[in-house]
């Protein structure tokens, strides 16, 4: 068996007394491209926030490797977090900095590179996402899709072990979205990164996903787990199959 990179045990997520999902149990293996699926509003983004420590579980635990992330002390947590990269649903670029500075901040803070080298690495990362020449633009001067790609460049700045993506292809045209898929697979293969993606794009799900879970809004828990293509062809649960077949041929 491949070794587990992230393990989630009995996780219950809630905002106050409003329980979103309960009893989530799954493992993301090293090198997986792990897809989190589910209808709008079922708590996918919230699950991501729990995995990266922005929200605390109402119950249960998140492990990174063998180590409990939920119960780690703040200093240890900061070290663990430094090994991850996150692409937010809105891009979340720091609006007072240029693209090069955005990508450069993690490099400045956590490496001993000189200013010129930081700039060079930032340009390289930006060119990987097709934004060569936009180094000195501010986030407000580029389109939403470009902001998303710049956010990806920032997430990759420190060559993280784990990359989290919240709806990376929302707002991208079909060709850019396809290129992004290729980039994601490339990142996994070249950096050996583990990737967790929240997405609705069926094409991407089948193209890149090696494993997945399906969160259900009605029963408030995960109702399926496995490689996406397998779920499409063999899942017992009609909700999952309807989702993966875009609501067509959802015969019981």
């Amino acid at each position: 068996m491949a070794d587990a990179h992230i393990t989630v045990r009995n996780l219950t997520m809630a905002y106050g007394s409003f329980v979103l999902q309960r009893d989530l149990n799954f493992a993301v293996n090293r090198g997986d491209i792990f897809v989190v699926m589910g209808g709008s509003g079922c708590g996918k983004s919230t699950l991501l926030r729990h995995l990266i420590g922005l929200n605390e579980p109402a119950q249960g635990e998140v492990f990174y490797g063998e180590e409990s992330f939920t119960h780690a002390d703040p200093a240890r947590r900061e070290l663990l977090v430094r090994r991850i990269g996150v692409l937010y649903q809105s891009g979340a670029l720091w609006s007072s900095m240029t693209l090069a500075e955005n990508v450069g901040v993690p490099l400045e803070e956590f490496t001993d590179l000189s200013a010129a080298e930081v700039r060079e690495v930032a340009s390289l990362k930006l060119s990987l996402v097709g934004l060569k020449g936009f180094e000195d633009f501010y986030p407000s001067q580029i389109s939403g899709g470009m902001q998303k790609r710049a956010g990806l460049a920032r997430a990759m700045a420190l060559d993280p072990d784990i990359l989290f993506f919240d709806e990376p292809s929302a707002g991208l045209d079909p060709i850019s979205s396809r290129r992004l898929d290729e980039l994601i697979v490339e990142l996994r293969d070249s950096l050996g990164a583990t990737i967790v993606i929240v997405t609705h794009e069926l094409a991407s799900i089948f193209a890149v996903g090696t494993n997945s879970i399906f969160l259900d809004a009605e029963s408030r828990t995960m109702i399926a787990m496995g490689p996406p293509t397998e779920l499409r062809d063999h899942a017992d649960n009609p909700t999952v199959r309807r989702f993966l077949l875009r609501g067509e041929n959802g015969h019981e």
Binding site: S17, I52, R82, V86, A92, V105
Partner: protein
């Protein structure tokens, strides 16, 4: 073409059916009829077992029909009477079906339940307690991070700090000067009216000088900065929160407090003493202007009188107060910004409440200083 208004007809048929007849042109801006007549029929002595609709005379319809039918069906459901939509136009039937396709989320509205007065008092008290605890935690975090800054271990960008120093310092000079000069004038006028009657007009110089150096200079600078920088800090951090930029800092492994709050506190702590001194000087010039033009005092005399009255200790005390007000303004602004909700109006509220919090804190601190300085005999 004749236009007929929306009309409704009711008819009880022999077999226990209520026929609701819709006709004319239904147009939302003209209003939606109430379902009360139907309810009256349902509760009358001939209680129908089913409601049917007939829409042969319906000339035009829009949302108003769907809304009305929704009300009627709600009434029927309450009274356990079956509804048959067969007689309705196909489009209306489809819209009704669509509105019902996704069942209402039962707990999504849970928060808005009717609450009694006692419960609301309890909830508000708990919330107040929580917000005080959160504020204390924030202040604690800020001071720990300031400690890290002092020993050179805080993560922030020098360029940001310089920019903030420029914004809070140099760019505030004109407005601080204007307010300080005017307040110097006002103090001198108020003093002159009283002192002239004793032939002691020269003591206007003492009054303005001592007031400016001890308290007023620092207060002027602080209140101007609370309105300028406190609000700006809250709005900046609040909009960064809306855009998830603060989350992004946290998941990059950078403490938002070190990166965003500490430079703002440092900028104000450095600039407020300077602005206080500046306000002192400009305020005294305001007094001098009144003294030389209205009271016929000579420039040298006024100057000497001021220099004799204002002790170094009071100037230093005033400057120290200015620095403390700077911390209060920056912390209040950043606290409100970091606590801001995730919407445009929440950012506006954060800015407003930063100014209010800042000014209340300044006045409270000024009161405390008066007592402390009095006891210490400074």
């Amino acid at each position: 073409m004749t236009t007929t208004a929306a009309t409704l007809g009711f008819e009880q048929t022999g077999d226990g059916t209520l026929l609701v007849r819709l006709s004319g042109r239904w147009h939302l801006p003209d209003g939606v009829p109430s379902a009360e007549p139907v309810e009256r029929e349902l509760t009358g002595q001939h209680r129908p077992r089913a409601v049917w609709f007939e829409a042969a005379g319906l000339e035009a319809w829009d949302t108003s029909v769907v809304l009305y039918l929704g009300r009627v069906e709600e009434v029927c459901r309450r009274h356990g009477v079956a509804v048959n939509r067969g007689g309705l136009p196909a489009g209306v039937q489809r819209l009704l079906a669509l509105a019902e396709a996704v069942p209402e989320a039962t707990d999504a509205r849970g928060e808005q339940m009717d609450t009694g007065v006692l419960e609301r008092i309890g909830v508000t008290t708990l919330e107040a307690q929580e917000s005080v605890l959160k504020a204390l935690e924030f202040v604690g975090d800020v001071f720990i991070s300031l400690g890290r800054f002092v020993v050179g271990r805080a993560r922030y960008r020098r360029a940001d700090l310089w920019l903030l120093i420029q914004q809070t310092g140099i760019e505030a000079l004109p407005v601080v000067a204007l307010v300080a000069f005017l307040l110097g004038l006002i103090l001198a006028f108020v003093g002159a009216v009283q002192l002239q009657s004793f032939g002691a007009a020269i003591y206007v110089a003492d009054l303005v000088g001592v007031a400016m150096a001890r308290d007023t200079g620092a207060l002027i600078a602080a209140i101007v900065m609370a309105g300028r920088s406190g609000a700006a800090f809250a709005a900046q951090l609040g909009s960064m929160r809306v855009n998830q930029e603060i989350d992004a800092l946290a998941t990059t492994g950078i403490s938002p407090i070190e990166f965003l709050v500490v430079p703002r506190v440092i900028a104000l702590v450095l600039m407020m003493p300077l602005l206080t001194l500046y306000a002192d000087v400009v305020g005294i010039l305001g007094g001098l202007f009144v003294g030389t033009t209205m009271l016929d005092l000579s420039f040298t005399l006024y100057f000497q009188q001021t220099a004799a009255a204002v002790s170094l200790a009071s100037v230093v005390g005033g400057v120290f107060k200015g620095g403390v007000y700077g911390v209060l303004i920056a912390v209040a602004g950043c606290l409100r910004g970091m606590q801001s909700g995730r919407s445009a109006s929440a950012v506006g509220d954060a800015a407003t409440s930063a100014v209010v919090t800042g000014i209340v804190a300044i006045i409270a601190a000024a009161g405390a200083f008066s007592v402390i300085f009095y006891v210490l005999g400074i």
